[in-house]
């Protein structure tokens, strides 16, 4: 992973989860990382411009409901929270990518962000080995980014 972008993603991902979804976020302890047979939901978003790259987020399906409920200001048992979960994950990623690009390269460059999509599960194992893990309200969340200058 590109060093500047990785550092930006680590700072911004925590800030976005706290500010947009009102979650308590801290680094995930090594012993709390999920097993290799973990089956999360993932989203990915690519960008182009002065650099090209992709960022992905992976987390428990249960966490999507909490994420959507917090962003919408509704209870977790509201059916609207379950329905909005995947959309909430994609939008959180959108905010993290947009803010990370500015954090890494400043406000000068203009990037074109693609539309966030559900990530291919086959990409998970490599992301687990070199991604950035956080604990968000007792749920593991994994971030990964790749960048080509």
């Amino acid at each position: 992973m590109n060093g500047e972008l990785r550092q930006a993603m680590e700072i911004v991902s925590v800030r976005i989860l706290e500010d947009a979804a009102f979650l308590f976020v801290e680094p995930l302890a090594e012993e709390d990382k999920p097993d290799p047979d973990w089956i999360p939901t993932g989203a990915e978003l690519g960008w182009s411009g002065p650099t090209r790259g992709t960022m992905r987020i992976w987390t428990d399906p249960d966490f999507l409901v909490l994420l959507a409920a917090n962003m919408l200001g509704i209870e977790e048992d509201d059916t609207a929270a379950a329905k909005a979960g995947p959309d909430a994950l994609r939008e959180v990623l959108n905010m993290i990518v947009g803010n990370s690009l500015t954090e890494a390269w400043g406000p000068g460059p203009a990037f074109h962000l693609e539309i966030p999509e559900i990530a291919d599960p086959d990409l998970l194992s490599s992301d687990m080995s070199d991604g950035y893990w956080v604990d968000a309200d007792n749920h593991p969340v994994l971030f990964w980014c790749g960048n080509q200058q």
Partner: protein, 127 residues
């Protein structure tokens, strides 16, 4: 009497969060209309009067920049204020949008009071 606002964003979650923020900021709203992209927004504008359009940039079919240009090129819509609420922080893009005629810009995630201040700045005193 309050305002009629058109919120344009492809994310249902963001549209819902903005509606919630309007309530938290105690903004005087008559109606909040939602559209999922620029094309939907243009369809709404052909049928309804709105006081302000709040739009995302990055959307399928027709994005926010295209929407701003389409509105400013149409005599029926050119005087409706448009503000952008987006994740993007490029000064180049903001300058380009301001030249195209946007009335304000907020970066996601934004707080209810920032939305209130933006609407107050663009629309002036409440009706």
């Amino acid at each position: 009497m309050g305002y009629t606002v058109l919120v344009v964003d492809d994310s249902e979650t963001i549209r819902g969060a903005l509606v919630k923020a309007f309530g938290m900021a105690k903004l005087p709203m008559d109606e909040i209309i939602q559209a999922r992209d620029g094309q939907d927004a243009i369809s709404v504008l052909r049928e309804r009067w709105v006081d302000i359009v709040l739009t995302d940039i990055n959307m399928p079919r027709m994005g926010g920049e295209e929407l701003v240009h389409a509105m400013k090129a149409d005599s029926a819509f050119k005087d409706i204020p448009v503000a952008v609420i987006s994740t993007e922080g490029s000064q180049t893009r903001m300058d380009s949008l301001r030249q195209a005629g946007i009335a304000g810009y907020l970066r996601k995630p934004c707080k209810p009071e920032e939305i209130r201040d933006l609407l107050h700045q663009v629309l002036g005193d409440w009706k």
